[in-house]
């Protein structure tokens, strides 16, 4: 097939760009350690979350030295915890969010950060993040997937509490 010289140069450049993109994404995954939301959260029965060991009492659980697991239930139109009372996490620790839905598909986005996941009924989304603030800091939380007529009212807060002020009343035990 007759390919013009300029076409060949362009084709080579295009392939280089593509391979370059795949390389940077791979570096992000392997080198920088940005894992994707995946199937590790497993499945739950969204109709009987009240029988689940953690989702029945959602909140912040201390699960290791400086490691916390936060269980959040999304619903039309709020997060528990998050909406009626803020999600509280200690600063400078590794926090894993486990989010599920008891009704329809929602989104879970910590505003101004890359903490972002879909929330699908029957599935548990897990994302691990660090809040490195020194002082008290608040983040907004919003649902970024249309979930029904009052979707725009579905929001919440995350309060990052300095280690010195963290106490066990902020944890579920």
């Amino acid at each position: 097939m007759d390919i013009h010289r300029y076409e060949k140069v362009w084709l080579a450049g295009a392939l280089l760009l593509i391979v370059g993109f795949i390389a940077t994404v791979s570096y992000g995954a392997v080198g920088a350690g940005i894992t994707m939301v995946n199937d590790e959260g497993g499945q739950v029965d969204h109709d009987s979350l009240d029988e689940h060991p953690r989702f029945s009492e959602p909140g912040t659980y201390a699960d290791g030295p400086n490691e916390y697991d936060v269980y959040v239930v999304a619903y039309q139109f709020g997060f528990e915890p998050g909406t009626q009372e803020p999600i509280r996490v200690p600063a400078g620790s590794e926090v894993t969010f486990h989010v599920t839905s008891r009704d329809v598909t929602h989104g879970f986005q910590v505003v101004g950060t890359n903490a972002n996941t879909m929330v699908i009924p029957g599935q548990v989304s897990t994302i691990t993040v660090r809040f490195d603030e020194a002082g008290t800091e608040e983040y907004g939380l919003l649902c970024n997937e249309y979930c029904g007529a009052a979707h725009h009212a579905m929001e919440g807060r995350i309060e990052v509490v300095p280690q010195s002020q963290w106490n066990e009343s902020m944890e579920v035990s």
Partner: protein, 576 residues
């Protein structure tokens, strides 16, 4: 000199019908879009936010599915008939798909628009993606299924024309436009299978109450199995026009027929096994499957990058035929007063920008930052909203005369119209991209929250809102000008030569393309194998995790304000 409508009056009638449906949808969808732009930016609100989602569903379905697909069906019918120089096998078959698609689209539209009237117990505020367990009225799903089946019959109609032509021309290369139509339809058959299974086997029985539950992740995955190739279904007819019509309008001819064929083959192969890149942030899908989708997606850039080369080279060739010289001065020699040329050129230019923002979306890890933010509609208003929609409108100025036998009413209005679209989209989509980076979500009636604000590093959120509202209004004005021009053209009298419709031969002709490129069965087979490889394991895993029918009972979309207000009040005592 006779044009298409004189040679093929029966086919022209059917194309007129598809264009008419497309343009009516364009008008309604664009009106909804303008109202949304004003509402979500809080510039002008006259309806309740519940209705925002009804209009948003209407905007998505009427523009992304009805306008685009009815228009491209007309373009494909024209391309097949014209390039094969073969009439439709049986015009009743053609009218059957036009009728079925129209009935299906009407059903879906009625189910959606009924949501605006609380006294009608019907609603389909489930948006264009209809993620279960949000549940629309069955009429919505039935309409979608009829619409898809209509497109399948259309494809069969075009393959039958091809078969007739092949019988008379056993040794000829498939003419380029027909090749583009047939390859696009192969991709469409492979990819619509997902949404058809989702709608027919799961969503329709579930919305009718025949089964109680659905597997939300499964229907969602089947939607995106179709949801990415559908963007190429919109884009391929635009490429068809860029490859075969734009070079002619520029005063030249296509640079390379073989490369154009290779590009369409790549789209057949790679369009479908990428859908999981819309689900980078979904639970229940292993990271490895996402990585495969990411890699395929990146390689899918190749045919579009090749297209950029061929189209620009062809346009430059045209400019030089018109006396253009120099490295860039040839740009001045192009026919910028021709709305068909200028519209397509501007559409191509914006597609370059939209392509780059799409490369960001495809980057799996950076996607965390932009997923479901305003960045995403910013991206697709540049691609389907401009590369496709503006090319279709510009193409109308060249095609409508051929299928009606009438000259365009006003070329200056046409020129103004395509420029207003481009300017409006620069304002709106640029501001949407920037807003997305601040975390402003998409698909939200009131992205103004009680607990927090969005912080702009450059400019302000208020400025972004004004740009979105202003851009949205310009886009609507552009559609009004377009529809006026189309209506005035249609109302005019027939003329002898409404437009110069001859398409010159490419510089590198089809004879230079390897014969294997025309082996449609081979490409279909490879495409199916790639899809099986990319999707078997994820779907098996989703089904084994949560069951074929899952456990999500329906959540009918709310249709009364009181019910919504009560739910919100219960959820947000602190705020209210």
């Amino acid at each position: 000199m006779a044009t298409f409508v004189d040679r093929y009056p029966a086919e022209a009638k059917a194309i007129q019908a598809t264009f008419a449906v497309a343009f009516v949808s364009l008008g309604i969808g664009a009106l909804f879009g303008a109202i949304q732009a004003l509402h979500r930016t809080n510039v002008f609100r006259f309806m309740d936010s519940v209705d925002y989602y009804t209009l948003l569903t209407g905007h998505g379905v009427l523009l992304a599915l009805v306008f685009t697909i009815f228009f491209l069906a007309g373009v494909f019918q024209w391309g097949i008939t014209e390039s094969l120089d073969t009439p439709a096998p049986d015009i009743r078959l053609t009218w059957a798909w036009v009728g079925l698609m129209t009935a299906g689209a009407t059903f879906a539209a009625v189910a959606i628009l009924a949501g605006l009237f609380p006294e009608i117990p019907m609603s389909a505020d489930v948006l264009y993606t209809f993620y279960a367990p949000l549940q629309a009225h069955p009429l919505f799903y039935v309409g979608l299924a009829m619409f898809i089946v209509g497109t399948w019959i259309a494809g069969a109609d075009w393959f039958l024309s091809y078969r007739t032509w092949r019988r008379d021309n056993p040794d000829e290369r498939i003419p380029l436009q027909a090749f583009m139509v047939l390859t696009t339809m192969i991709m469409w058959y492979v990819s619509t299978l997902g949404v058809a299974v989702s709608v027919v086997f799961f969503l329709i029985p579930w919305s009718l109450g025949l089964v109680d539950t659905v597997n939300s992740l499964l229907t969602r995955t089947l939607f995106w199995y179709f949801g990415h190739p559908v963007v190429y279904f919109w884009l391929m007819p635009a490429y068809l026009l860029w490859y075969t019509v734009l070079p002619k309008l520029a005063g030249g001819r296509l640079f390379s027929d073989p490369l154009a064929r290779a590009v369409f083959v790549l789209f057949v192969l790679l369009s479908t096994p990428v859908g999981i890149h819309h689900q980078y942030l979904d639970p229940g899908i292993a990271e490895g499957f996402k990585f495969i989708a990411m890699t395929n997606t990146m390689f899918l850039l190749l045919p579009s990058l090749l297209t950029a080369f061929t189209v620009v080279a062809s346009v430059e060739h045209g400019a030089r035929q018109r006396g253009g010289e120099g490295y860039l001065r040839w740009l001045g020699a192009l026919p910028w007063r021709d709305p068909a040329f200028t519209g397509m050129a501007l559409a191509g230019l914006m597609f370059a920008a939209g392509g780059f923002s799409g490369m960001i979306n495809a980057g799996m890890n950076i996607n965390y930052l932009v997923h479901n933010t305003l960045w995403v509609p910013g991206h697709f208003h540049m691609t389907v909203g401009t590369a496709v929609a503006l090319t279709f409108m510009a193409g109308t100025y060249w095609l409508l005369p051929q299928i009606t036998g009438k000259a365009v009413y006003s070329r200056p209005i046409g020129l103004l119209q395509v420029i207003v679209w481009f300017v409006g989209m620069v304002f709106m989509s640029n501001a949407m991209h920037r807003g997305g980076l601040l975390g402003i979500p998409r698909r939200t009636a009131e992205p103004q929250y009680a607990n927090f604000d969005f912080a702009a590093a450059v400019g302000s959120v208020g400025e972004l809102r004004m740009q979105i509202a202003f851009g949205g209004v310009l886009l609507f004005l552009s559609v009004v000008l377009f529809l006026f021009n189309v209506a005035a053209t249609w109302a005019d009298d027939r003329v002898g030569t409404p437009v110069d419709d001859a398409i010159p031969e490419p510089l590198s002709p089809a004879s230079g393309a390897p014969l294997v490129l025309d082996n449609l069965a081979l490409w279909t087979l490879i495409a199916v194998v790639l899809v099986v490889l990319a999707y078997t394991l994820p779907i098996l895993s989703i089904v084994s995790d949560a069951g074929l029918l899952g456990s999500s009972t329906g959540s009918p979309v709310a249709i009364t304000l009181e019910a919504v207000a009560e739910t919100v009040a219960a959820a947000l005592p602190g705020v209210w």
